[in-house]
């Protein structure tokens, strides 16, 4: 059967990996290509590169990064961050990315999902959703602009809409759990995973190997993404996978 995927996420700014990466054995811990290879060797099933460049120049550099990564890496990878137009998608996919991830632009211009899906196929279009529980709404609310702006969308409704428009995968980040290391949001992930027909990647809150087991078994996630616990070597992709194998979750 299909295995559950473990996906490290790398933040890239102006062509360099940032955000507290602790890889002392690497010659250059800020080099996206070296880090990508490191995770590939550890058994990562996929990688996500998040472009957090503030400048136009930085975004152009991202294309070079993608080309360099694609030359070295024989596992799939997704690029997200600052993608606003079909042209942006074309540039990144032609440079060798396998999928692009849309977040804010998907909410403000939903046609972009459909345009991307009909041009490249749904399998290339990931819709990333930042979710935060809202007591007033009685549900999770969709946020855009890196979690700064609330929208009127309920997360489950938006996920279903995004899939109807052509999204081939949902990357779901719990803002409530992000950075807390107390576990993924199983309730949120399960609600979305059961509502849509496409794979769901859970993100936000990974703190130990057990959290991965429960997001797959309880949260019904198809894949789980984490950043800091891998970067800070609190655990490794290898450790997560060998634990999952032991408890009977099928992994590669």
């Amino acid at each position: 059967m299909l295995t559950k995927r473990i996906i490290p996420c790398l933040d890239v700014k102006e062509g360099r990996v940032v955000k507290g990466i602790q890889f002392l054995e690497l010659r250059d811990a800020g080099d996206p290509v070296e880090l990508a290879k490191f995770y590939d060797e550890q058994g990562a099933d996929e990688l996500v590169f998040l472009d957090i460049s503030a400048s136009h120049e930085g975004r152009k550099t991202m294309v070079d990064v993608i080309m360099a990564v694609a030359s070295e890496l024989a596992i799939p990878f997704t690029v997200g961050g600052g993608i606003n137009t079909l042209e942006d998608m074309k540039r990144l996919l032609r440079a060798g990315a396998d999928k692009v991830s849309l977040n804010t632009a998907a909410v403000s211009n939903p046609d972009l999902i459909t345009e991307g899906a009909s041009f490249f196929g749904s399998q290339c279009i990931v819709v990333a959703i930042d979710a935060k529980y809202d007591a007033e709404m009685g549900s999770w609310r969709v946020y855009t602009h890196g979690g700064r702006n609330p929208t009127n969308w309920k997360v489950v409704d938006w996920a279903m809409e995004a899939v109807n428009l052509g999204a081939g995968e949902i990357l779901l980040t719990s803002m409530d759990r992000d950075g807390e290391k107390e576990g993924f949001d199983e309730e949120l992930t399960r609600a979305v995973s059961e509502a849509v027909s496409v794979p769901v990647i859970a993100s936000g809150g990974a703190g130990n190997v057990e959290h991965f087991q429960s997001i797959f078994e309880v949260g019904k996630a198809d894949a789980a993404l984490a950043a800091s616990i891998f970067h800070y070597k609190e655990t490794s992709v290898e450790e997560v996978k060998s634990f999952l194998r032991k408890v009977g979750v099928e992994v590669r």
Binding site: L2, R5, A70, S71, F120, D222, R252
Partner: protein
Amino acid sequence: MIGIIDYGMGNLFSVSKALERLNVPYFISDKSEKLMNANGLILPGVGSFRDAMLRLNESGLSELIKRFAETNKPLLGICLGMQLLFEESEENGFTRGLGLLSGQVVRFSGKSNDGINYKVPHMGWNKLTYKRSSSILNKISESHVYFVHSYYVKTDDKDILIASSDYHIEVPAVVGNQNILGMQFHPEKSSKLGMQLFKNFVDLVEERMKLS
């Protein structure tokens, strides 16, 4: 020399990078005469069956592929490229394929025989199960490869089934006969195992060159 068929719908970059890593000389072309002279051809593909066949037919590359297949030189279809080798697809209405292998391309129903809903596309790493021996499987163990597809091949010709994967039904993963081969997954994205598959294809090409 290996030729990669460029018909505007391929994952050309990652396929060519895979060959570069293996130090295998290759060229990318949309010219029939040039492709005909290759020792082996790769037909990549991402996108819809109908669009792909339309482009292949309009450019005359359909004819080239069929002629090439008759020469007994190896031809490898990847993902959509594999599906195109079959007789027909139900994607976006009925479309006729290259007809080099017998079978139809149909959509995953999303519901298993015992009534369980499952996700479509079939996306991620799944394990290969070998169905018969083939040199394309040399030096690799039954391990995981990376799939992304919503349609699969349904065939009654059990002889062409080399390896399969289980996704609520038996999904043909590696198919082929003498010189026509197909992989439903992406070997160029399947890490070390994928690279070995490419290497095996290249070996096959070289072996045929020696024989001819």
